[in-house]
């Protein structure tokens, strides 16, 4: 990792009675250490990348406890790590982004859950749902139901979260079941405080290794063990779980005076429910609410008698459950039916079926429920007024603003090495016509957004090439698949390249190799060199892997050379040579590179060393404001400004100081024959005598020429 997480690691060292102040995901990491885990693993992805980053950075701390931490190659690999706890009483935790990661891990998850565990096994998932999510919108809930593992959805309060994580290990051991602990994006990033406990030495670890292997046929997915496992899941582990939840009081019941109604919510939504009630004047600042609330920190399984006891005697209960299908609402309805309790259950209706329960949705959902059920003695006027005020304010804003505020879609970072590949692909397609492009997951997915608007489908991480198997043969032209180096190592190597080679597929694959798993925070990959920062002997070059699979047509191309890249793309798309053609488009992730170089440059500058700073610029005199250069780039530092020319109306292009001098502007304007307005400036910092002398001579020479210009231009610099 290029970044340093020393500060975070220090937080993880805190002992009993000390106050932890920090992010949720770190609090969870601390809870794992307080639980005595023997091993940790995972695959990066928002919102749980931070846990992985800190884990990798806290090697020293982990070694003190003999904890093994592994940066896994995929979520499947991470989940498979839990196999350790099937036979041995050791605790472990793995982490990934869900639901995508859980999809990848599903095979191992089913097997671990079926075999059962003797050591506490936790799966920490970051539920990437709602605003800012970068994946398909689904719920992880179904995985818990189908695999019969328990799902915790803790109330976002650091103390509660830490306690629940520790409880979850006990629960896992008591029920022989792996447990999924789900955290929403904001819960991972929320800051807060809790009182620490000491970190715990794991029972078994590298320091105290397990001596003998355990053989037990019952743990295998072979008949008849499978039937036994199924039976155990339903008849022993499930009742044990329900018992555990009840005894440990994992769910929380908050009393209220308005006891003719109630609210049952997912633990993760408790704060949002409370804010809604506060805004409606139904709860105080400390969360003391008038309406009784059952906060389900465990959303699977449900404790039937808890639900029945809460609902009995109430005329209506609101279920606050985010996403679709509404598993909780359906389950509660059937629980009450079985118990013959006639409470009206309201859920989806006042609340939308789809989408995140942000503040306004929550407020309106709560108000809608109350207006619908008319609780005993409650004055509904202020409730309706609170909602109306928001609507009125928004209507007023819309009227004053007159037009909707334009969107601001994300895009590639300044100087990103992947951008030039799409510039080249745009230019190549101008020459040979549009092609089908199977996109993949990664930063490069941004190519589907303006200005490139490029890519025809995307079905999963590392699946770019695999996803073109059906279309490649049925498309009139050779198709292109995109894959990042992250996706390549995650699954692309086997699903994509292996499949394409085995089936003699004739198509083009572009591997965008920027050296990191960049979209998730520049984590290292097997092929990462980190500009020489990684020991050469441990680097696994992508081209070696390709050779190993027998790919004949492999070309490596530095991404910023747009002209060459364009030529290469055209060649790959039009050559008569059949088979898979792979272009490895290589250049280091600019974020990582800048992070690596910036301190070095600062040091060199401070030491008085000669350092050349390169950046690009645009001549505002010659720019005519067509912005073709921007349409071929979209770099954040390449923007526009009102035209300084008094006659011209179209904004001129300009380069901001954030430019890192990657060179794409010049390359694009060259390859696309755009315009002569771009210039490259090499600024010599801490110039030597030679630089200064040369500069002085040049200035004199040029000055003489400029002075000798025809009179027409002599006053050019004068202002009036």
């Amino acid at each position: 990792m290029e970044r340093s997480f020393t500060k975070e690691v220090a937080l993880l060292r805190k002992g009993k009675g000390e106050i932890f102040e920090g992010e949720g995901i770190l609090a969870i990491t601390k809870a794992l250490l307080q639980s005595g885990v023997s091993y940790l693993g995972g695959y990066q992805g928002a919102p749980v990348s931070h846990l992985m980053d800190v884990m990798v950075d806290s090697k020293e701390l982990l070694e003190e406890y003999g904890i093994h931490a592994e940066a896994c190659n995929s979520e499947a690999a991470a989940c498979a790590m839990l196999a350790a706890s099937i036979n041995y009483p050791i605790r472990g935790a793995v982490v990934w982004k869900s639901t995508v990661g859980t999809n990848v891990a599903a095979d191992a998850l089913s097997n671990v859950a079926s075999s059962g565990v003797v050591g506490g096994s936790l799966i920490i998932i970051g539920e990437d749902y709602g605003e800012g999510a970068s994946i398909i919108q689904e719920r992880s809930h179904a995985f818990a139901m189908k695999s019969q593992c328990w799902l915790l959805d803790p109330r976002p309060n650091h103390t509660r979260v830490v306690d629940l994580v520790e409880d979850a290990f006990d629960m896992s051991e008591a029920t022989h079941t792996p447990i999924i602990v789900e955290f929403r994006i904001r819960a991972c990033h929320v800051t807060g405080r809790f009182e620490c406990r000491d970190n715990k030495m794991p029972k078994y670890s590298a320091k105290n290794p397990i001596r003998d292997p355990v053989f037990n046929l019952d743990k295998f997915a072979l008949p008849p063990s499978t039937y036994l496992q199924e039976k155990l899941k339903v008849e022993e582990r499930l009742p044990a779980a329900i018992d555990f939840i009840r005894k440990r009081k994992l769910n929380e019941h908050f009393d209220g005076t308005q006891d003719d109604i109630g609210i049952i919510c997912q633990g993760g939504l408790y704060n949002s429910v409370t804010r809604g009630l506060q805004q409606l004047g139904l709860a105080d600042v400390f969360g003391e609410a008038e309406i009784p609330t059952l906060c389900l920190n465990v959303t699977y399984p449900m404790v039937e008698d808890e639900i029945v006891a809460f609902c009995a005697g109430k005329s209506a209960v609101l279920i606050v459950e985010e996403g679709w299908p509404n598993y909780l609402e359906e389950a509660i309805n059937s629980i009450l039916r079985r118990a013959d309790v006639n409470t009206t259950i309201v859920g989806k209706g006042p609340f939308p079926k789809a989408g995140e329960y942000q503040a306004e949705v929550m407020l309106k959902g709560l108000a809608g429920f109350l207006e619908g059920v008319v609780p005993r003695g409650m004055d509904l006027a202020p409730i309706s007024a609170a909602v109306a005020a928001i609507d009125k304010n928004k209507a007023q804003a819309a009227e004053l603003l007159r037009a909707p505020i334009p969107k601001r879609p994300p895009g590639f970072c300044t100087g990103c090495p992947e951008r030039p590949v799409f510039s080249a692909l745009t230019l190549a397609q101008k020459d040979i016509g549009k092609v089908h492009i199977a996109a993949d997951v990664g930063c490069h997915t941004f190519a589907v957004l303006p200005p490139f608007n490029m890519g025809n489908s995307m079905v999963g991480y590392g699946l770019g090439l695999a996803s073109s198997a059906g279309i490649a043969a049925n498309f009139g032209k050779r198709t292109v698949a995109i894959m990042g180096d992250g996706g390549f190592w995650h699954s692309g190597l086997s699903t994509g390249i292996g499949g394409a080679m085995y089936n003699d597929r004739d198509q083009v694959l572009i591997i965008l190799a920027n050296g990191y798993s960049s979209a998730t925070g520049q984590q290292y990959l097997p092929s990462t060199t980190a500009g020489g920062g990684v020991d050469v002997n441990s680097v696994m070059p992508i081209e070696n892997a390709l050779k190993g699979l027998g790919v004949k047509w492999v070309r490596k191309q530095h991404t910023y050379q747009v002209g060459k890249m364009k030529k290469l793309l055209k060649e790959a798309l039009t050559t008569t040579e059949k088979g898979l053609k792979v272009i490895i488009a290589e250049a280091e992730c600019q974020l990582a590179k800048q992070r690596r170089l910036r301190p070095l440059v600062a040091k060199a500058l401070a030491a008085g060393d000669r350092v050349i700073r390169t950046r690009f610029g645009v001549d505002e005199d010659t720019c005519t404001g067509d912005h073709a250069c921007i349409r071929l780039s979209g770099c954040p530092s390449l923007t526009v400004k009102p035209n300084p020319d008094k006659l011209r109306k179209d904004p001129v292009t300009t380069v901001l100081n954030s430019c890192v001098g990657c060179g794409l502007c010049g390359e694009v304007s060259d390859a696309a024959v755009l315009c002569p307005s771009f210039y490259k400036a090499d600024i010599v910092q801490n110039p030597g005598i030679h630089d200064r002398a040369l500069d002085a001579v040049r200035r004199v020479g040029i000055g003489i020429l400029q002075g000798a210009r025809p009179p027409a231009n002599n006053g050019a610099g004068a202002t009036q």
Partner: protein
């Protein structure tokens, strides 16, 4: 509700920061959290990183309870995970359009919200990649911000940053502290920066800059009025005087700038030719009661005539790139210190077309026709990397710039003058029929811009619209008002996409005379 809480405020305080990726919004949120911690208040913050951070809009939400932990005795408020419409005490936006977004989402309410926003613009990709001017107008945002907030602090923080060499997030923190709207002492904010430990010194300076500004101890410097960038010679004075005297005040500033531009481009005589051409337009304008239209025709015709007459050929580019003031401007733009030598590299890539443009008309036409016949000739370009501030690099540009005397004898010059003539004729004929039609035709040359392919597409689009809708010989079947609409629609369509798809569609409409097929036209 329970009694113990009654001695405390009945609600928390909530702030949201809307920023763009890379502006340090997260750091700003961190400082505020840290300052609240220093005050010993319960505080929490949440954010949405992920894709939003990659240059998109992103928000950070901070909530705190202005009662110290020791007074609370272990009791803690329940704080929210989301910014909430109707609940916000402060909305902080690092950019104007993001302030608009906060307003649109109902985050700013008149009874409680202080809106702090920088009024500068950071353009979205959709604004940047437009083929013309599609910049979002911010005036409505300012108005809405002032009207819908309890208090609004709106100014160009970016300019303040440039003026003082500071970072916007630190300046914003200073403004927040200085606004006095939060029960957090300025010293606590400053301590928070120190505690953060990142670039402490510059951030403290930025913080104090924001604080000084909001306290009225520091003002934004006035932007100097930009003078004309074109040279002034004694021989031009008569022309300028004539322009000032003979043209109505609505048009005179544009015409004078036009004179400067055109005379600087070629010669005083050429400037004089410009003035004569606009004078003819003015006569037609007057005859058509232009006064009641504010002489819009003269202004716009004068604008585009000046731009057209100073068309960008290789001589012009070399001229502009070898001017002494250019180096000063570049140094400023790239932030090079006086002591630092700079090496400038130009990316030039002329093709046969550029060579043809400087040949005499007969030869130039022949070369152009020869070029059009084969794809390789059309695609042939000669890549040149010129180091402008090396002596010999400069010499190449300088010599090319000296070719100015030759320009009136070139193929390109002849072609442009002929096209200008038809355009002026069309305007003169049109203004007699419909004033608006003439103005639309006057604005049509806006499409003629760029270099190489861009220029060819622009001029081809211009010509197609001109022939079909604007030329005196056009067979447009509707009345003059409809024709004016059609010219405008066609111009907008030409700027809608860079493959002329929208224009193709528009020109295929039945009331528009059929044009020869595009292939044939090429």
């Amino acid at each position: 509700m329970n009694s113990p809480s009654e001695q405390f405020p009945d609600r928390t305080m909530a702030l949201v920061i809307s920023a763009l990726g890379g502006e340090g919004g997260g750091v700003l949120a961190g400082w505020i959290v840290s300052a609240a911690e220093i005050e010993n208040y319960p505080v929490q913050s949440t954010s949405i990183p992920g894709v939003a951070q990659r240059t998109g809009a992103t928000t950070y939400y901070v909530e705190f309870f202005p009662v110290t932990h020791d007074r609370l005795d272990g009791k803690l408020p329940v704080m929210a995970m989301y910014q909430t419409p109707g609940y916000m005490d402060m909305v902080i936006c690092s950019e104007l359009m993001e302030a608009g977004r906060a307003l649109e989402n109902g985050m700013v309410s008149p009874d409680r919200t202080t809106l702090i926003a920088s009024t500068h613009r950071s353009y979205s990709i959709l604004e940047r990649s437009a083929m013309g001017d599609e910049l979002f107008e911010g005036d409505d945002v300012l108005k809405a911000g002032e009207e819908l907030s309890k208090r609004s602090i709106l100014f160009d923080m970016e300019r303040l940053c440039q003026q003082t060499g500071t970072m916007i997030n630190a300046v914003m923190l200073g403004v927040i502290a200085g606004s006095g709207e939060l029960p957090i002492k300025p010293e606590s904010f400053e301590q928070a920066i120190e505690k953060g430990g990142v670039a402490v010194k510059p951030n403290i300076i930025g913080f104090r800059t924001g604080l000084a500004y909001i306290r009225g101890e520091l003002q934004l410097e006035d932007k100097p009025e930009e003078a004309s960038r074109w040279g002034r010679r004694a021989s031009m004075d008569d022309l300028l005087a004539a322009a000032g005297r003979d043209f109505p005040p609505e048009a005179a500033p544009i015409i004078m700038e036009g004179v400067r531009r055109v005379a600087d481009y070629q010669s005083t005589a050429y400037g004089s030719a410009y003035l004569a051409r606009v004078a003819a337009v003015l006569d037609a304008d007057k005859a058509a009661d232009g006064a009641s239209h504010g002489f819009k025709l003269t202004s716009e015709a004068g604008r585009y005539l000046a731009l057209w007459m100073s068309f960008e050929d290789i001589i012009r580019v070399a001229d502009l790139k070898s001017r002494p003031e250019r180096m000063d401007r570049m140094r400023k733009e790239i932030g090079a210190k006086d002591s630092e030598p700079v090496v400038i590299t130009e990316f030039l890539k002329p093709g046969f077309e550029e060579f043809a443009s400087v040949l005499p008309p007969g030869l130039g036409r022949a070369l152009t026709e020869w070029r059009a016949k084969k794809e390789w000739r059309r695609n042939f370009h000669f890549a040149m990397r010129v180091k402008t501030n090396s002596f010999f690099g400069f010499l190449r540009l300088w010599m090319l710039a000296k070719m100015k005397w030759w320009r009136p004898r070139t193929y390109r010059f002849a072609e442009e003058q002929a096209a200008i003539g038809s355009w002026l004729d069309a305007m003169r004929d049109a203004v007699a029929r419909d004033y608006r039609l003439a103005v639309e035709i006057a604005e049509l040359p806006r499409l003629r811009k760029g270099y190489s392919d861009t220029f060819q597409r622009g001029t081809a689009n211009y010509q197609r619209i001109f022939d079909a809708l604007a030329a005196s010989s056009s067979d447009f079947t509707g009345d003059a008002a409809q024709q004016a609409d059609a010219v405008r629609a066609a111009r907008e369509a030409a700027l809608a996409d860079d493959e002329s798809k929208a224009l193709d569609q528009l020109l295929a409409r039945p009331e528009i005379p059929a044009e020869p097929s595009r292939e044939a036209a090429e």
